[in-house]
Amino acid sequence: MAQLDVLNPVAQPVRHSVAPARRRSDLRDATIGLYSNMKAGGSDALDRTEELLRERFPGATFKRYHGSVGFLMRHCTAEDSDRIAREVQAVVGTTAD
């Protein structure tokens, strides 16, 4: 028997860690953000999402967002994220993929 020893080609990744946000059990009267990156179909999905969440959570209000930079896909800057975080209590997003 012969043995071939080789080196692992795969790089170790730099690890990042973000704690998930605390959830609230009830979104009644909450302001919910609806975020689309503006790819085709995203706004249709958010339209129906808003209708269904409005039925589920009376008093909820909704705000639409897309990122302030980009082209086919529009992305959020840090400032966009700060603004959204100030204005809503939860976000439903779509990238259409």
């Binding site: 990042h16 998930p20 503006m38 179909g41 269904l52 086919l72 959020c76 993929d97």
Partner: protein, 449 residues
Amino acid sequence: MVELERRGIPTVFFTARTFVHDALRSAASFGLSGLPIAVVPMPLTNQRPQDIHVMVEGAIEQVVAGLTQPVEAVPENHDLPAADERLSYTGEDLLAAWDVMQAEFLGRGWGDGFPLVAPTRRAVDAMLAGTRRAAGDVIATLEPGFGLATVEKLAINAVMAGCQPPHLPFLIAAVQCLAEPKMYLRNKAMSTGPHAPVVIVNGPRGRAARFSGGMCALGPGAPSVSNTVLGRARRLTMMNVGHTYVGVSDMDTIGSPLKYACCCAENEPESPWAPYHATRGFRREDSTVTVHFAYGLCELHDFKSTTPEGLVGVFATAATNVAQVGTGLWLLGRRADPRYKTTEQEHNTMLICPEHAQVFAREGWGRERIQEAMYRAARMPFRTLMLNKERPAMAASHPELGWMWDHPDLPVPIVEDPGCFEIVVVGGAAGRGAYFYGAGAPVTKLVED
């Protein structure tokens, strides 16, 4: 979504079933494994509104759960790299052991489908002799997986690709190009589009390392061996160092043969103009690597034209192809990485063969005049450019251009400005070049020891 979670906002996002793995892996790379998703059967693109509504209705309970139930981290899965740095394979003889290695590497997704050279300690040490850098030096952290691109990891992948030690500094420079923030590698590596890096070598070191800018420079064959192995090493590095794995973090819907290896040198000896890298801020005597992502290529064939105007007229027909995503894409804005506040114009790279270059030069045309002529000739009716683009996206990026909708037949340039045509002299005898439909802008780096 991860950035909103970081700010204390619960999120959930719709994800097509095909993209679940990609979405979870991406969220984990950004630090939040287990980010809630609401799975829908299909991507939303190309779907009728009523079909999208049905998909949303089927996923709404996941939306509610994602926003209201605690998030639990998902354990790391088998796709993450093995911790062992050394791997052993056995067989009846070394060739049989090598077969076992091939099967395992391909099975793990560490190969491109072709046989790999075994990265033994001895071969990697020989490769490392191609640079003065230490094996442990970190060249970059390569997205999308944030892999640490140490010189040794690059050398391992260079060995696997068939590179020789003189090629390693070129791979290092190519990785530096990929890692440049304005390259926005994450976007190009993970996209559903067939983004393939085109690698262009310039300068005396390239000629010494036998990179070819002549006949069949893009391969295959003996004259372009250096081109092929550097291009291949770049791909393997994107996979094994950047963790750009198909179906995991590379969601290319159709793929591209250009992704295996796409590399050439400029044919500087037969170019009538200054070397390409000299137009990008480098000295003529410098050696450089340029990386420009491209979606595909089209031949620039013209045996007939004897004037610059004639050639431009033909070349412009290649550029005016709205099925290529970059054509007129500037109408929707610019590719932008919000993390680094970078923006890119959409460039296209033209490999002009020496004979065509001489036709231009004979009439006193340089690169800038060709760029200007292409900018004027490569125009399409506004309505045609917008056939596959979202009107709201244009309104968001260019509200000042809303008047164009009242002029649907207006000829509109396919790129934002003349400088978006990159011009490199490449190829052998006969009037045939190539037009790369680009994705974003090229990046050039110096080749250093």
